[in-house]
């Protein structure tokens, strides 16, 4: 029997970016807040100091900072006719663990989605007609607009000290920025990072081809920065150990480097680490959450009562907790009814290798940062006419290469043997003179891509694993092929002597890393029949339950998600502060 702890105003499940944002904002409101985190407390100086943070084997190959599949994992299959099998070691994505969550080991690419992304179905239907969309595509409007989120994107960028070149300030298009972006209310807080040779060469070639290249918005600091909370970040040193690593220099925006030093000192906040929430509890009506149950590392079960429950775990774990807690109607892919598990998506990425004459080109690929790079946005979202192309969606493309760490980044031409003297020579000849630009494409939602509970496999606590049923549809593969071809043209124009394209191909494969951007399963919207959350990230069914994170995305856009995830969290805290607390109850009408 779980032992009951004293009640709190707010319990937050998961203590990554959105948990930290929620805690910071709601403690400011005077609420008594506790966060419960499955993994350990982590901080820069004690966990990833620069005397051993730069260890490719430990952090990249052996996945030191991530959740261990032994703690819990997922099962995976491509379609309903297959038997899902457990993901025994991570591959396609890397679930985070510990205080700071993915904010510790992300690259810090800090994008905004396009205004049209938030009204996707309406926008595409108006421009191309409803028949243009594949019949089984279940994309929908978010219920929130870019204009709603703009102040909250801004808040997150100033929290993080995001470095970039604005392309659209209050409607005025600026040279050197992304002319396709939604209007921003002011400049980025910091100038863009410096660019390495390969990144700059991409920008030059793209500009000569008539594109409008711009620096990728980066949460790696271009200069020292003090954020609005008074927390300071140091300048990025371009060390080339960013994604999947913690930053030893306090140069990467993370909860640790932007919020926690202030939050932890508040008397109305505390966090439990190494405690896993196993259930959201509801009262007899099922309409009100009463708190959560968690287990500690000794296996003891505890109940934490609270007036307000914020689910802020990694996207799929949010969905798992809803399913295990029997909150919301599980999605049924046959009937298309139900919402929990619906509209699950990922990202569609691809790349090209550009091999250059080693006598003339030296890119020093090891000099880089997580979110460095030059990009173009001509082929993202609906920035281009899809009419003649027969697909929808898009992505940014760019030279956004983050590293030259040699276990992973020793590119060789594809006809090279996998081992032996020729392999060794090819590694030596190509290491400094190759670029690896990439495409970062959207993944729209479909009726047959969803999450539910696995009938066979369980975690260490005996709970069913989440089952992922996911594959690429033709629309996504066509889109990615189009982007890859455009990218290869630019790589050629950079002066590469040989360009190799790696198209994204089906079936979806769990062993090949794409991104950690899994989305959906508890999406937001204006219709409780097709969304678990209303436009304020509030559960339609249980009004004192809010769910943050990319699980709210009805479909995924062609950008990294963190900027939007964080903006949604600020948007939801604003709604809680200004609307919910004065008058607790549903914030939107069905």
């Amino acid at each position: 029997m779980a032992r009951k702890l004293p009640a709190k105003d707010v319990v937050i499940v998961g203590f990554g970016w959105t948990g930290a944002i929620m805690a910071q904002e709601l403690t400011d409101e005077g609420l008594d807040v506790i966060a419960i985190e499955r993994g350990p407390w982590r901080d820069t100086a004690m966990d990833y100091p620069p005397n051993y943070a730069q260890d490719e084997l430990r952090y990249h190959i052996r996945h030191e900072l991530f959740l261990r599949p032994e703690q819990t994992t997922f099962t995976f299959r491509n379609n309903m006719s297959q038997t899902a099998l457990p993901i025994r070691n991570w591959g396609a994505f890397m679930p985070p663990n510990g205080v700071g969550g993915g904010g510790v080991h992300w690259n810090a690419e800090t994008w905004r989605f396009l205004p049209s992304d938030f009204v996707l179905r309406t926008h595409l239907t108006e421009r191309y007609g409803a028949d243009f969309l594949p019949a089984d595509m279940t994309i929908q409007d978010w219920g929130v607009t870019y204009e709603d989120l703009e102040p909250h994107y801004d808040a997150f960028e100033y929290l993080c000290g995001t470095c970039g070149t604005a392309g659209n300030v209050n409607g005025e298009i600026r040279q050197g920025g992304n002319p396709f972006e939604g209007a921003r209310s002011r400049d980025y807080p910091n100038p863009a990072q410096e660019q390495g040779f390969g990144h700059a060469l991409f920008g030059k070639a793209a500009a000569e081809m008539g594109y409008k290249p711009f620096p990728q918005p980066s949460g790696n600091m271009s200069r020292p920065y003090t954020n609005p909370l008074g927390v300071r970040l140091g300048p990025c040193t371009y060390c080339g150990y960013c994604e999947w690593f913690g930053c030893g220099n306090y140069s990467k925006a993370s909860p640790q480097t932007t919020i926690l030093p202030v939050l932890i000192r508040k008397s109305n906040f505390m966090v439990r680490d190494n405690c896993e929430v196993t259930r959201i509890n509801t009262d007899a009506s099922g309409k009100r959450a009463t708190g959560v149950t968690f287990v500690d590392t000794r296996g003891e079960e505890w109940e934490q009562p609270a007036d307000l429950v914020i689910l802020a775990a990694y996207a799929i774990f949010n969905v798992q907790l809803l399913l295990l807690s029997k909150i919301g109607k599980p999605y049924d892919p046959i009937t298309g009814e139900g919402v929990v598990g619906r509209n699950f998506t990922h990202q569609v990425t691809s790349g090209v290798k550009g091999f250059f004459d080693k006598e003339k080109y030296n890119f020093n690929p090891f000099i880089s940062s997580g979110a460095i790079g030059m990009c173009i946005d001509e082929f993202n979202g609906d920035n281009f006419d899809h009419g003649p192309l027969g697909f929808v969606g898009g992505g940014y493309i760019g030279q956004v290469q983050t590293n030259g760490r040699p276990i992973q980044t020793t590119p060789v031409p594809k006809d090279t043997p996998a081992w032996g003297a020729e392999w060794k020579k090819a590694v030596r000849d190509n290491y400094l003179s190759t670029v690896l630009p990439a495409t970062h494409g959207s993944f729209y939602s479909y009726r047959d891509i969803y999450l539910d509970l696995d009938p066979t496999y369980t975690d260490r606590l005996g709970r069913p694993l989440v089952r992922m049923t996911i594959d690429f549809h033709d629309n996504e593969l066509k889109m990615s092929r189009f982007l890859t071809d455009k990218l290869a043209e630019i790589a050629q124009a950079m002066g590469a002597s040989k360009v190799e394209k790696s198209y994204r191909k089906g079936p979806y494969d769990i062993t090949t890393y794409q991104t950690t951007h899994l989305n959906g399963g508890a999406v937001m919207g204006n219709d409780p029949r097709t969304s678990f959350l209303n436009r304020y990230l509030q559960s339609w069914d249980v009004s004192n339950l809010f769910v943050t994170g990319a699980s709210a995305f009805p479909q995924n856009a062609g950008y990294n998600p963190t900027g939007t995830v964080a903006a949604l969290a600020y948007w939801a805290t604003d709604a809680i502060r200004t609307k919910y607390l004065p008058n607790p109850g549903p914030l939107a009408n069905a």
Binding site: W41, D43, M46, Y48, P50, N51, Y52, A53, E56, L57, R58, I61, R62, R68, E70, T73, P86, I87, R88, N89, P235, T237, Y238, C239, G240, Y241, N249, L260, S267, F269, V271, R272, D273, R279, T293, T297, R298, G299, E301, N362, N364, F366, I367, G404, P406, I407, A418, W419, G420, K424, V427, L432, T456, T458, R460, G462, P507, D509, I510, T511
Partner: protein
Amino acid sequence: MLNLRRRDLLVSVALWAGSGAMVKAGLISGRLPWATNAGSPPEPVRPGPWKFFTAQEAAAVEALVDRIIPPDPKTPGGKDAGCAVYIDRQLAGPYGRQDGLYERPPFMKGLKGQGPQDPDGPAMHYRKGLAALDEYCRNQHGKPFAELSDSDKDDVLSGIEKGSIELKGGAGQTFFQQVIKDAQQGFFADPIYGGNRDMASWRMIGFPGTRYDYRDWIKRHNERFPLPPVSLEGRTEWVVRKS
């Protein structure tokens, strides 16, 4: 109702802790916690006896890594770079035992894209794979793999790679792929793990290693970075020799 298996939980908790202390749940408030070396600095691999391989297995692995990464006049091969030592220490540690991975049954054969579904970890793959390799070589050539000529070794390995040679147990191709991956990882990993001795691979390609600050070079486009590599243990020249 939660079906909590306490013993399983305790076992798994102990495993995530890696080489560090037992993980304990904590309640944190008021100030940032401090625990020296909470992230556990890496333990350097020291020379010495094999920790996982038998002498015969070690001979085969040294021969394998030296064909995967052959020596040349400028750069040592896999053996002299320490790749066999690296693999030995990795197999004797968490990697060999699949620590932290999901190992609950049932183990069913799946699609390639569903990833490995195999109760055996890398340590067992090497134990079985190396025995099968030597058995094949003894049957076909009358001696173990390590004693073949370089060209015979390459022929055997090419045959396994292409699938024209099958080893007992039927896993020759995947085993060889695993050895290639491990040998190359050891060659490029920090020398603290036993391979990449004297940063041989980093010198070979021009990677400066664990240097952590390139602010003075980010704008020096198309200029070769001038400094030699550094590892997590520094550089040989930095070691103070006491007379």
